[in-house]
Every structure is written in C-alpha cells, then in structure tokens.
Amino acid sequence: MASHRDLPAGFADNMFLNTGSSSFIEFVGSYAPDLLPGRRPALARAVGDEVPHATTIVAATCAGGVVMAGDRRSTSGNMISQRDIEKVFRTDDYSCMGIAGTASTGLEMAKLYRVELEHYEKREGRTLSVEGKANRLATMIRDNLPMAMQGLAVVPLFAAYDPDAAHGRIFGYDVAGGPYEHHGYNAIGSGSIFAKGSLKKLYRPDASPEDMALTCIQALYDAADDDSATGGPDVARRIWPVVAVITADGFHRLPDEEVEGHVRTMLDARMTAPDGPTAPLR
C-alpha cells in the first residue's frame, strides 16, 4: 500500500509543507513513487501484443495555431481492443498531446503530464514556456525507457500554441526522450508512415484551422486505408476521429457534429476518387 495512505491527513512528516520544487512529478517521486509510470519493478518477461496499443496521431500547424487529430482504434495484436478510445488530450489551455504505443501507460502519462503543467502554473503563478513544456514531457518519456525496453513503450506527439511567436508548434519524441521540433506537420503510431505521406501532399502552411482539420482527417483516412491498426471513421456507430484545434483562443476540441461534417465531405468526395484528393504535378 502506498505510504501516503498511512498518513493522518497529511502533514505528519511535513511532506506537503516541505515546499521544494514546483514539479508535481518530483513530489510524487518522493511521496508515492509507485504512482509514477516509469518507476515500477521490472517485469518477469517483456510484454508484447497482449496489451492494447494506441495507434495513429497526426498534427499540423495552420494559420494562427495548430491542429491535432487521432483515430479511435486500439489493438492487441490482430484484435481490436477498443473502437472508441480517445488518444488526444488537452494538457492545458494552450497545449495538447496525443499518444501512440501502450495505451494504458500513455493514458497515465497524459493524466500525469496535465497535473504537472497545472501544478507548476498554480505554484509559480505563470505558465511554462512552450520549450519548457516540451522538455518536461521529454523527461517523462525518458523515465519510462526501462519499461519501453520491456515492451511498454509510449511515444507522444505534443502540440502547443506559442503566444510569443503567435503560431502553433509541434514536438515529436522517441522512446528515449526528445523533443524534436517538427515544422509543418508530423504523425506518430503504426499508421504514421501513410499519414505523413498524405500530409506531405495535402499540407498548406497557411490553411485555415477548418481546412487543416479536414486535411488531418484525410491523412487519418489514408492511414486507416493501409494500416490495419488504424481505425477509419465508423459511420454506422457514429465514431469520428478526435480533432483538437489550438489557437490564441485556447484549446478547442471540435464537437462531434463538426467532425462528422468534415468526414462526410471527405467520404462523398472519395466515392468518386477513393484515393482522395490529388496534388498538382507541376
């Protein structure tokens, strides 16, 4: 049982009052380390396809912001373990992250990261810079490296609106950390190769957020077309991709009706051109 459960309401050993750093993770690390994803005892053997994996996430900058979208499928080997999982998370008012890899660890990490950003903001009375946020996430991913080596890898994609530069920014990671800033667009997960190929042809740097949302939906469709672990839009069940837009007005997750509109536009066009829009040759 975690040590904090044994404490009478809390201050007995001055834990809450010993006000060291503004990092929630550092605090949890000393207070209840078993709550952190990366600090658990090594597994007897590596985990493979038994645990659900989250798949494709795409992100692209647009005029005055950034768009992130994720499909809704998670898979365990050849099984679809969930068809309506959400993999794009609001982490604070001006940033979000998407996860690919082990779904459970990813969810936990997104939850922890949100608290980490909020904790800093409340304690310091200011928000972290975009670099600060991206670096913090890199440390978390690096802490998870031992687990990643045992098969529980998580690779996030981080997108934020940078108020100083007044545009959106995208950061990628690998299992050992990062961050790698990507200009324009990036994708992660099993379908990322196809999604990136699609984005390469459809990306326009100054597209409006609405157009870029459609572009991302197109890219996810192309990923689902060629990757069995990426889910396409489920028209019968009305399960649509999660699309988030971050601009100077803050984080905004598009309502299902709006995403449905984009998806139907795309599907209508694909009825005549199944491979989607074509880019001009010259």
């Binding site: 975690a2 904090h4 009478p8 309401a9 809390g10 201050f11 834990m15 809450f16 009052l17 006000t19 929630f24 605090f27 949890v28 207070y31 209840a32 709550l35 609001r90 008012d93 001006y94 939850k111 922890l112 608290v115 909020e118 904790h119 409340k122 304690r123 009375g125 200011r126 928000t127 609106y161 108020p163 100083d164 100077a248 803050g250």
Partner: protein
C-alpha cells in the same frame, strides 16, 4: 512541592499565543469572500501585485489568506500538493474543500499547540458547486478552528468592521458587478477612499467555466467591472432566465499579475 522556576500554565500559554497571532493578523489588510450568482468572488486589499493573497488550489477550489505571507504561502503550496496528489490518485471530482479544510485545520492546530510561535494567518477555502446551494466556504483561524460560512466572510485587519459592512451590502444572487461593489465597499473605511484598482486583488470561481473554474480578474477587465459597479451607476438587473456566459481567460501571454511592491503582510 513548589512549581518549577519559569513555569507557565497551559491556559496562559495558549492565551499568549492567541493574542500574539491576533495582533499579527490585525496589522495586515483585510480580504472578503462572497457568493454571487455564478459562483464565488474573492476581493483582497493587496498592495503587491506579485505576491498573491488569493490563489487557485484545484478545479473548483480557491484559497484566500491574510496575515504573514511566508506562512500562508506555505499552506497554499501544501494545499496544492494535497489537491493534486489526491486528484491524481483517485479522480478529479474527489478533491473537496472540506478535505482541504480538514487538512489545514489539523496542521494549524498542531502548529498552534506545538510550536512557540503560532501562524499569524487566517485563511478561507472556498469550493464552487453546480448551484449556489452547493457552494462551500470555510474559514480557518490560526488555532485550527474551522467555520462553515454562508454567503460571505471577511478576515484580516479590521475583520469585524469589514464584516459588518459586508453584511449590510450582501444579498443572495448578486451579479458579479454588484458583488464586487459590495466587496470593495466593505474594504473601504466609512468616509475613506476605496482602495485603488492597483491595490485590489480580485478573482472568481465561476461555475460556468469549463475545466478550471478559477479566474483572476486583472488589468483592463477589472477596471471595466469596477467602473460598471461604481455606486453612481444604477444597478442593472441581469436578464431573467438566461445564464450569463462564463468569463473567458485573458489569453496565453497575459501575466497573472503585473510586478509591483512587495506586501510583507504587515500593513503599510
């Protein structure tokens, strides 16, 4: 058997400590916390725009304090840790003002009995609910006693006088501008000048906001609200039936507070 040299009876010790704490608190400025139609508003007379007396603790929970800055700041930071770890371990809805008030009460009580110098602080922990009936306001004093307040509370330097003025102006279901006026009037001595806007620290817990209900009101927006609420202007009735839209955050690069003088919590 004679008493050992230097013996002080427990009653005397407690009395001395309480007097000491009260004196410390009385030197500082006052703060008020009151309900309005969309939540809870905090108004503090604070010469510093950098050192806050009002702060966010969690999604629905706010914190206000008067007294010695370093002491209530330690309590604030501890409270944030308590809230964040509980919200992370269990669920975000499981963090309550009552739990936090208990934590503060235990610790203030322990500090009061065990250390030579008690904390010279008074704090309010407020939680905004989905309706006005579910709002909770707890007031904690230096010795760890907790009072469950209804509608409004005043604390700090001239708490009694401020509370009287607050009671006179307060009514249930006020609009934000009216609640602000009542709060500022309560912080103003009769016949005296109201604290200038630059010395007012104001924040709300707005039940209609998504995610985090806490919002600081600063700069032009605060001035606008105060101008609207000026006693000369007729108090406008909010439109019946329609809910007022939630207050929007000022933007990513808006500073949470401009820099300014440091308030030591010891008055002028």
């Amino acid at each position: 058997m004679s008493m050992p040299f230097g013996y002080v009876p427990a009653e005397q010790q407690m009395r001395d400590k309480a007097d000491y704490a009260r004196k410390g608190i009385a030197r500082g400025r006052s703060s008020v916390v009151l309900q309005y139609e969309d939540g809870i508003v905090f108004v503090a007379h604070n010469a510093s725009r950098a050192l806050h007396k009002i702060s966010e603790i969690y999604d629905r929970i706010g914190f206000a304090a008067v007294g010695r800055y370093n002491e209530f700041e330690a309590l604030r930071l501890g409270g944030i840790r308590y809230a964040d770890i509980n919200g992370y371990t269990y669920g975000r809805g499981d963090v309550t003002a009552r739990g936090l008030a208990n934590l503060y009460a235990q610790n203030l009580g322990m500090i009061f009995t065990e250390s030579i110098k008690p904390y010279e602080v008074e704090i309010v922990v407020a939680e905004v609910g989905d309706s006005a009936e579910e709002d909770q306001i707890y007031r904690l004093t230096f010795d760890g006693s907790v009072q469950d307040e209804h509608g409004m509370v005043a604390m700090g330097g001239q708490a009694d006088a401020v509370a009287t003025r607050l009671k006179e102006g307060y009514r249930e279901g006020m609009a934000l501008t009216e609640a602000l006026r009542v709060g500022v009037t309560a912080l103003t001595e009769p016949g005296g000048e109201a604290p200038p806007t630059s010395q007012l620290e104001v924040a709300v817990l707005d039940r209609n906001r998504p995610h985090r209900r806490f919002l600081r009101l600063t700069g032009a927006r605060l001035e606008g609200l105060l101008a609207e609420s000026a006693p000369a202007a007729p108090a406008e009735k909010p439109a019946e039936g329609g809910k007022t839209p939630p207050l929007e955050s000022p933007g990513p690069d808006a500073p949470t507070a401009p820099d300014g003088d440091i308030d030591t919590g010891q008055g002028d």
